[in-house]
């Protein structure tokens, strides 16, 4: 089965499928739902980080009998199921973090609801043993990857470099806050909301309400105004709350978060601390890596183990090591749980290794480009998990193209003597799809269905949240089926209508699910056997082309020993950042930014570049201005005025290009694209600022307050 180039649609910048609705304001987001007889829902949250609820009092002046009030007791199973079952949907007695949901209110008057929320007083017996720093609390999860004799190899090194690298939390700042609307029809719950993983919400709601049948829960994804991982796990809680109030009210309920609530309560990127010890020869040959990678998991497990896992799996960078030991530890604290955020641990560990590579090059008196080049992974090289690289990473070609785009050598030479100016780079990789045996467990499915009008529907649970799912899947299906791309329709993800193709995360949509769409199209094509769709449909009724995930041959992972092929494919890239430091304020400005990536086949260049550019801007924000200020573990700068993301005046010109090195088992040769843009900017910017200031730095965000120490 293969469709060979030249392609009709693959590689073409087919216009965004839902573009017209988006530019006319016709797209319906969750808050645009108009539901008659609907109540507004509101969450009452803890004001302490740890302790026991002693009393809840309902103040005077509020007509409480008009309110729907729900607590943990109203929920058949008080749990938000994800990996573990440790997180309650509502606090019963013991509070584990600030802003933890305790009770829910609903009323038809949104204004009165606000007054009611203020009239509730919760008394606590505070527990002063709360932990807020990495390492203070208990260990949630630990992983170890070991290859070669680490201490023996260190003993053979001429140079040993040690440093501790830190990264801060990061808030997603999707411009549309979280929200759900929901109603019950008998024993069936209907929920529509802003989220990226319909089946995660489905599972969580089904479990919390103890429902027996999958069909009792219908989760629809409304047009989603950005997610970036922030709507992977958190929406399950919002959905359960909405459903609970709706059940108690016997009426539809809407829970639309306002910005401050969303920022205070929702998940963030895990703060990290990476202790690196790197050994090399004096001429710059890397030998040994000792990486101790720690993250703050927050008060509940949520996705921390898998974030941790991806972190250490990327912690060795795109380099060949004789011996490597990577230890990952996720610690519990009394912060609101940290969760998924684009890159999922990899940006944190890659930040450490890529910052260290430039600092070490400086120490060795070597050029940071040549030092990296000398150690790049090549075809057949073995990663610390024992995985031998089947494909050629083509790192030299990627780096050459990046340097050329940035006119790196001339630029670096020109700015080197100028104080407060710098140029920095980073080289990185990102594994496509779920880690290890994750894809096997997911067992994703997709379907293509014929229609009487001769068109085909794509039925997947992969969501559109700006990245282009709705456009690229029709491209893939149309390419195989020989249809006009406009004759392939994308069905709005809704659990009653689409099979479970897994969550829209982990850079898996285009490559992993896209491959399933490709295979399903071949399946359908085989059934049609040349008959026009309308004719076939008239004779046979709705006909499905289907596909279910199968691991590529030879891909093996051992969960126990943490060895094998963590990912079937890796995307690769180089970033170059040029910065200027204001000599008065020490404020860093990224002046220009370049990126070259191998994401395999580029299915839709405009969409792919757009996604990459946006990820770069987020990465630059994480490196420079995005500072989550924590107080007792919780974010206090919960406004867009004080949590600073780049405006048009901050984001630099971003130049992006690709080198296409197709992956045999990805949709039309594609590899992961969504997350890799987040991996490079942190270290590239830090390295540029380090050059500008003539001293190595080790922490992002780079805060002017910390640089000004005269």
């Amino acid at each position: 089965m293969s469709i060979a180039p030249p392609y009709r649609y693959i590689g073409q910048s087919i216009l965004r499928r839902e573009g017209r609705e988006k530019v006319t304001g016709a797209s319906r987001y969750v808050d645009d739902n108009v539901i008659p007889d609907c109540l507004h829902g509101k969450t009452i949250r803890s004001t302490i980080a740890k302790g026991r609820i002693v009393d809840i009092s309902f103040g005077e002046g509020i007509p409480w009998d008009e309110f729907i009030i729900a607590t943990a007791k109203d929920l058949p199973r008080n749990v938000v199921v994800l990996i573990e079952q440790d997180q309650p949907a509502l606090v019963e007695e013991f509070v584990q973090h600030k802003h933890e949901p305790i009770l829910l209110l609903a009323h038809k008057d949104a204004g009165l609801l606000e007054d009611a929320a203020r009239a509730i007083t919760i008394t606590y017996e505070e527990d002063k043993s709360a932990a807020f720093e990495i390492g203070e609390g208990s260990l949630q999860k630990e992983y170890l990857i070991e290859e070669g004799d680490i201490e023996k190899t260190f003993a053979e090194c001429d140079v040993v470099f040690e440093e501790v690298y830190r990264t801060g939390a990061q808030e997603h700042v999707y411009i549309e806050p979280n929200g759900f609307v929901g109603w019950w029809d008998g024993d069936n719950i209907h929920l529509r909301g802003s989220h990226q993983c319909p089946y995660y919400v489905h599972k969580a709601v089904k479990t919390a309400f103890g429902l027996k049948d999958d069909r009792q829960v219908d989760i629809l994804q409304e047009t989603t105004g950005g997610a970036f991982g922030g709507k992977e796990d958190f929406p399950s809680t919002v959905a359960i709350h909405t459903a609970l109030l709706a059940r108690k009210a016997g009426r539809p309920v809407r829970m639309i978060y306002d910005r401050a609530e969303d920022m205070a309560c929702s998940t963030k990127r895990h703060p990290s601390e990476t202790r690196l010890r790197i050994g090399c020869t004096k001429d710059g040959k890397l030998k040994a890596l000792d990486c101790d990678f720690r993250i703050d998991g927050g008060a509940y497990i949520t996705l921390s183990p898998v974030v941790l896992s991806r972190g250490i799996l990327h912690g060795s960078g795109p380099y060949k090591w004789e011996a490597a030991r990577l230890v990952g530890k996720s610690y519990a604290t009394n912060s609101p749980p940290y969760g998924a955020f684009r890159g999922f641990g990899a940006p944190q560990s890659l930040f450490a290794i890529e910052s260290a590579m430039s600092a070490l090059a400086e120490k060795l008196g070597m050029c940071p480009v040549e030092f990296r080049r000398k150690n790049f992974l090549k075809k057949g090289d073995v990663l610390p998990t024992g995985q031998a690289l089947e494909g050629d990473p083509m790192l030299d070609a990627i780096v050459d193209k990046g340097l050329q785009m940035a006119d790196y050598w001339n630029r670096a030479k020109k700015i080197a003597p100028i104080p407060n100016r710098g140029i920095g780079l980073s080289v990185f990789l990102h594994g496509t799809g779920f880690t290890g045996s994750g894809e096997v467990y997911l067992a994703s499915r997709v379907a293509l269905a014929t229609r009487g009008d001769g068109k085909v529907e794509v039925r997947v649970s992969s969501t559109e949240m700006g990245q282009g799912t709705e456009t690229i899947f029709p491209q893939i299906a149309a390419e195989v089926l020989g249809l006009e791309v406009d004759d392939v329709l994308f069905v709005k993800p809704q659990t009653s209508k689409v099979p479970n193709s897994g969550p829209t995360v982990a850079s898996r949509t285009c490559s992993v699910v896209g491959r399933l769409v490709e295979r399903a199209a071949h399946d359908l094509k085989g059934k049609l056997n040349g008959t026009p769709i309308a004719d076939y449909h008239a004779t046979h009724g709705e006909t499905l082309g289907e596909a279910k995930y199968q691991a590529p041959p030879g891909l093996y992972w051992d969960d126990e020993k943490y060895r094998g092929s963590a990912y079937g494919a890796y995307s690769w890239g180089i970033n170059i950042a040029e910065v200027t430091i204001d000599p008065v304020t020490m404020h860093p400005t990224v002046e220009n930014f370049w990126g070259v990536y191998d994401i395999g086949t580029v299915i839709n260049p405009t969409l792919a570049k757009g996604q990459v550019e946006g990820g770069i801007a987020q990465g630059i924000g994480w490196a420079t201005c995005e500072n989550v200020v924590l107080e007792e573990g919780a974010m206090i700068n919960t406004h867009m005025t004080n949590y600073i993301i780049p405006t048009t005046m901050d984001a630099p010109p971003i130049m992006v290009d690709f080198i296409e090195n197709p992956y045999e088992y990805g949709g039309f040769g594609s590899k992961g694209v969504g997350e890799i843009p987040m991996d490079g900017p942190g270290p590239a910017v830090l390295n540029a600022v380090s050059m500008a200031l003539r001293r190595p730095l080790n922490k992002i965000p780079i805060i002017a307050e910390e640089l000004l120490d005269d």
Partner: protein, 156 residues
């Protein structure tokens, strides 16, 4: 309660019944007059709720409804006339200026303001859009979209 507040929305007279201190944004949304105008922060920072008020770009979350009485308000819904997209809308589709789309209506209204009154942002497109946050695009494709529309308006 109070008298309705009358204003002209996309050329049509409408009566709004919200409290006079209601942010224009919420009044327009709650009364189902402009679902395309989006909430993002409610504090004049993100620009998703940008509309034109008597021709000037404003954040509608910052305007108490009473202050819009008698005003001409233009929202994203007014851009497309009889099914024909505004050149800015065409350009946003062609150049990839919209991703998740939540900032797009506000972005378009700021861009429209720039097209009509470029002197207000002498630094160009980048400056004209400084009040509109986008978390998806990194802005590059939004500039390209606006520049394309400007080019088309100039007959290029």
């Amino acid at each position: 309660m109070t008298e309705p507040i009358r204003l002209k929305l996309n050329g049509k007279e409408v009566d709004l019944h919200s409290h006079p201190m209601t942010p224009l944004l919420h009044a327009l949304r709650n009364e189902e007059l402009s679902p395309g105008t989006k909430y993002g922060c409610g504090e004049g920072e993100c620009g998703a709720c940008t509309v034109l008020l008597n021709g000037d770009a404003v954040m509608s979350c910052m305007v108490p409804l009473c202050q819009a009485e008698g005003a001409e308000v233009e929202t994203v819904e007014g851009l497309c006339i009889d099914g024909e997209l505004h050149p800015l809308q065409e350009a946003f589709i062609c150049e990839g200026g919209a991703q998740c789309g939540i900032c797009t209506p506000g972005m378009l209204m700021s861009a429209l303001y720039f097209l009509r009154q470029p002197e207000k942002a002498p630094g160009g497109v980048r400056e004209a859009l400084e009040g509109n946050l986008c978390r998806c695009t990194g802005y590059t494709r939004i500039y390209q979209s606006v520049e394309r529309a400007i080019g088309e308006a100039a007959g290029k």
